[in-house]
């Protein structure tokens, strides 16, 4: 019997999972950005002492998970499931980390939406009483993403004004059925939306309709008004994609502008750091949430937020074959409420 579903795409949890702890590790460039002081660890060298960028990214995931577990005053053996993914072919960053961590593992691919995808599924596992301790994680690395999706690092090409900068970083969220901390009360699972955008240099424009669709559906399913939230924050739409999402929602009759932001827009100082339209990548919404947003929630500066990580579900192959960029966004409501 279905008892927790609201509307078409939303779940309201009966036993809202508690965010026991989080961890965020970022690269040097992110460590020079406006949110630097909120990150748990800033690595100085993007190779992170490893032999390749891929191994470095994997180590970011591993260390983020270890840090979150330690902070939750638990051991790795206490964690019943690990859910996560990254941008690399066959999820090598996360899988190789999972091999070292030895936690039962589900690998997920949702492109840059992986933070809220993993949080959604981890919450379902806990609310469904299948486990007490679940970790959700994701990562991205500028250098691994560049070589897989674009050009070699040293190639002297020019970036479009709408191009975004892949965040180097990993975030991990430890969810628990008991304990203290902000809780996840609702999730809205997005549909894949494709408005026919083919320009891989403007992923904000490709993903904005998916974000708008998920947010509009969430508001309809739950009956919440935008102002019920202190913040509605998308994953990596960037400077221009954010404006498009606000515009699309306005046309749907939702005035979100005052409470709306985007992780990709917050993480860098675009002018000083030359990041064009802003940050992107799985790590973008992961570290902004695990570092900055969780701090704001814990200090009661924010009490109810909607995190909407956004993913562009294309590959270099689909792009070279002239395919458009189908996109997805998943929304997660995080609140400060006292649960006994």
């Amino acid at each position: 019997m279905r008892t927790k579903k609201m509307g078409n795409q939303t779940i309201k949890f009966k036993n809202p999972p508690i965010i026991l702890s989080t961890a965020s590790i970022v690269g040097a460039k992110e460590g020079e950005g406006p949110l630097a002081k909120y990150f748990d660890k800033i690595i100085e060298d993007d190779l992170y002492g490893e032999e390749s960028w891929e191994k470095a990214e994997s180590k970011l995931v591993e260390d983020a998970v270890r840090l979150a577990v330690t902070r939750g005053e638990l051991q790795l053996a206490d964690i019943e499931y690990m859910l996560g993914g990254d941008l690399l072919n066959q999820l090598i960053a996360t899988s190789f980390a999972a091999s070292k961590l030895q936690i039962p593992f589900f690998g997920l691919y949702g492109a840059c939406s992986t933070m809220t995808e993993s949080l959604s599924l981890a919450s379902i596992i806990i609310d469904g009483e299948f486990a007490n301790k679940v970790i959700a994680t994701t990562s991205s690395h500028f250098a691994t993403a560049e070589r897989q999706f674009r050009f070699p690092l040293e190639h002297g090409n020019q970036r479009a004004p709408t191009a975004q900068w892949t965040v180097t970083g990993a975030g991990a969220v430890l969810l628990s059925s008991t304990g203290e901390g902000p809780v996840i009360t609702h999730i809205t699972t997005g549909k894949v939306i494709d408005f026919g955008v083919v320009d891989a240099n403007n992923m904000g424009a490709a993903m904005a309709p998916a974000a708008a669709d998920t947010i509009a559906t969430h508001l309809k399913d739950t009956g919440f008004k935008p102002n019920d939230y202190d913040l509605i924050i998308t994953g990596d739409l960037g400077k221009y994609g954010k404006e498009i999402a606000i515009d699309l929602l306005r046309k749907e009759g939702h005035k979100v502008k005052n409470v709306f932001s985007d992780c990709g827009n917050e993480i860098f100082d675009h002018e000083k750091q030359d990041t064009h339209a802003g940050g992107s990548g799985c790590g973008c919404s992961a570290v902004v949430f695990c570092g900055y947003l969780i701090d704001q929630l814990k200090n009661k500066k924010l009490n109810k937020i909607l995190l909407v990580s956004t993913g562009a579900l294309f590959s270099p192959t689909s792009s070279q074959q002239g395919g458009s960029i189908p996109s997805i966004a998943h929304a997660v409501t995080i609140e400060n409420v006292s649960i006994k």
Partner: protein, 150 residues
Amino acid sequence: MIKKVESNKKYEEYLKKTQPKPNYFKNCLWAFIVGGLICTFAQIVHDLFEKYLNMEHVEATSATVMTMIFIGATLTGLGVYDKIGKRAGAGSIIPITGFANAIVAPAMEFKREGIIFGVGAKMFILAGPILVHGILASVIVGFIHYFLKR
């Protein structure tokens, strides 16, 4: 839900109106200045070869090309060429230094995948298309030239 009010066509038009365009004038100016500087520098090198090493014109040209490739490759290795390219665009891609950059950059990038499948296979990932289509074009032009001359 959003889909009902926005068709793909309408969205494309909307993006055309709202999305920022590259500053073509500024980009062209940068390309002109940097590309011009690279070519002027090569011309100076060429003249010096002729003057001080007593090279023939054609001989000096080959020596200049080799020198410029060496400089392009070195600047790529030092991590400077991508910074020039970011501003100059076509201005630093079109000259032969850009060709050197297009070969050295992937060679550096893929050396971790080994000498054979990394450096060997990926070295021409960017320059390959230029070679293929460049050679094809030269053959076509050669034919045209041959038949026009007759």
